[in-house]
């Protein structure tokens, strides 16, 4: 039994009267690929935002890699190795695709304003990171647009840039919010195959929101189902697919 890398206990997040996340508890095992599904507005993205520090939870705890990260700022959570992508791509639009990926590299020596003017202090690391960034750009098949401004690429390409950016961070675990939205089914399958490959090669853990269950279910070990801010079902994909509650929620809206 692998240990649980992420533990969420009784997490609540309200927006005024809206109970976007209303008592969610879940556990993600190390090296797992876990899916999160649920109808629109069921609180999936809010759950990610609350885990990753964008929102402070109203109640509950988040424990990552044995550390209680409840209420931490996002950049500290990143440092621990938990990195997320956004459902609506949030790229740095005045930077190129290549630079978007490069910028998310961790512990860059040249980011200190004292070292920055002295190029030789960080040029070595920068070139090493550049190679890695280029690898990740190619990994998500964006080699052709690497030198384009990220404001000039298509929505699907933006999502892929988001993914490459998260991978560049050398995280232990990634929270991917609809990584294959706006991407055709063939490419979507490829992305998920690559995710499976990343788990094998680097031992990464994935927690993934995806609407197209027929694609998602081929790759995940375990699925959580959310509805109205709560987890209403969980289990292996084939169990969840047959769960009458889940079918009811999906057909009933």
């Amino acid at each position: 039994m692998p240990r649980d890398i992420l533990v969420v206990e009784d997490l609540h997040k309200y927006f005024g009267g809206i109970r976007a996340v209303d008592g969610v508890s879940l556990r993600i095992p190390e090296r797992g690929i876990v899916g999160l599904i649920g109808p629109n507005g069921s609180g999936k993205s809010t759950l990610f935002n609350t885990i990753a520090g964008r929102y402070k939870p109203d109640r509950g705890r988040v424990i990552f890699d044995g550390v209680d990260i409840t209420g931490w700022k996002p950049h500290r959570i990143y440092k621990l190795g938990l990195v997320r992508t956004f459902q609506n791509p949030r790229l740095w639009l005045s930077l190129t695709v290549f630079e978007n990926v490069l910028t998310s590299g961790r512990d860059q020596r040249g980011e200190s304003p004292l070292r920055a003017p002295l190029h030789r202090l960080w040029a070595g690391q920068e070139m090493e990171y550049a190679r890695k960034a280029l690898d990740w750009v190619r990994f998500v098949q964006l080699g052709r647009v690497a030198a384009s401004l990220s404001s000039d690429i298509s929505g699907g390409q933006m999502k892929l840039t988001e993914l490459a950016r998260a991978l560049m961070s050398r995280a232990k675990m990634l929270l991917l919010d609809e990584p294959a939205a706006g991407v055709n089914p063939t490419l979507a399958h490829q992305i998920f195959q690559n995710i499976a490959r990343l788990r094998e090669e680097y031992g990464l853990t994935f927690f993934i929101i995806e609407h197209r269950l027929e694609i998602l279910f081929d790759y995940v070990d375990y699925v959580y189902v959310m509805h109205r801010g709560r987890v209403i079902a969980e289990g292996k994909p084939e169990e969840v697919a047959e769960n009458p509650v889940v079918i009811d929620v999906y057909l009933g809206g």
């Binding site: 990753a52 964008r54 700022k73 996002p74 950049h75 990143y78 440092k79 990195v83 997320r84 956004f86 949030r90 790229l91 740095w92 639009l93 005045s94 930077l95 190129t96 290549f98 630079e99 490069l102 910028t103 998310s104 961790r106 860059q108 020596r109 040249g110 980011e111 200190s112 304003p113 070292r115 920055a116 003017p117 002295l118 190029h119 960080w122 040029a123 920068e126 070139m127 990171y129 550049a130 190679r131 960034a133 280029l134 080699g143 690497a146 030198a147 950016r165 998260a166 961070s169």
Partner: protein, 379 residues
Amino acid sequence: MPVGGVVSFILAYLSVAAVYSLLSISMNIEYGWAGIPNFGKAAFIAAGGAAAAIVAAQLGPPLLLGVKGVVPGGLGFFAKYNALLNAYAAHPAATWGVLVLSCIIGGVIAMILGVLFTFPAVRLREDYLAIALLMAAQLVWIVLRVDKQIMGGTFSMVLPSPDFTPVARLLHVPDTVVKVLFLWGLVAVFLYYSEKLMNSPFGRKLRAVRDDEIAAEALGKNVPVSRLQAMMIGSFLAGVAGAIYVLVHLASVNPDYFLPDITFMILAMVLVGGVGNNWGAIAGAMLLALMDRVGYIIGSRLATEYGMLWGGYLYYIVYGLAIIIAIAFRPQGLVPEKPVKTPAWRVYIEETGETPRFLKPIWARLRSLRARRKGKKEG
């Protein structure tokens, strides 16, 4: 206008344009690169001015001249201070000492003020941040007026300008020429430093924070600290530039030099020249300084010869229209910002074997542009 008039106009213009360039480079670090609306710039420039006044009257005499300093505001200050000014005039080296000390002290005070003002407010939304900085700057201005021991309250205090005569004699040119060269030399230093500073992962981080701070913090950037860093650097440079402004360019100091007008003038230069481009900041400073000077000459003619007092306020329309036109028609400025150039692009060129268009030298870009035009015409 006689030839002598034209030459002195050009020299005066080049001198003021250099000072504005120093200031707009520092403003560009904050507004252009980091997206911080520093509406309190005047306070950081004032730090340099205050440092110059303190060094000239209080610190400089014991350190550089070996005599006792005088505290402004007291009885008989002007008589004693005039004696000091005469002593400075007899020691050219001491006037340079004043400049160096003032730059260092002014920069450090400005940097400290930058932290004090920004640290609490840096998490605020941009409009709140702008208002808070503007208020803080107004407060500094009031303190400078009220506390007569800093720069003598509301009287203008003459300052010992650095003495260019020895160099000028050596080169057989007038003093002002050397002064202009010296100021532009400083601009080159500021430009070199900020180009080096920004073409680095640090510059990229600032742009990331400016473009999308939520993404930046999700990918490990400490947003408040990044903004604070930009403010500290910008404020330090503004403090240095402020000392140079009052010592070299104006040779006097008065709290009213540091009204918010100067902040917004510098902001207009950054907007017109190029938001996020250091060269653009200089271009904007040169352009607006020219219009400012021309407007000043026309305006003072109108005011003194025709009694049209509004002539003295022509600069409002120059800068006001410049800001509106820039935002409405060319928000990126005359010289748009360039990608951050780091060794990473060398790796990119090595690995892919192709050079992105924006990294090619300008003539190659022009040639390819012309080729494309031709292709379009034929196709």
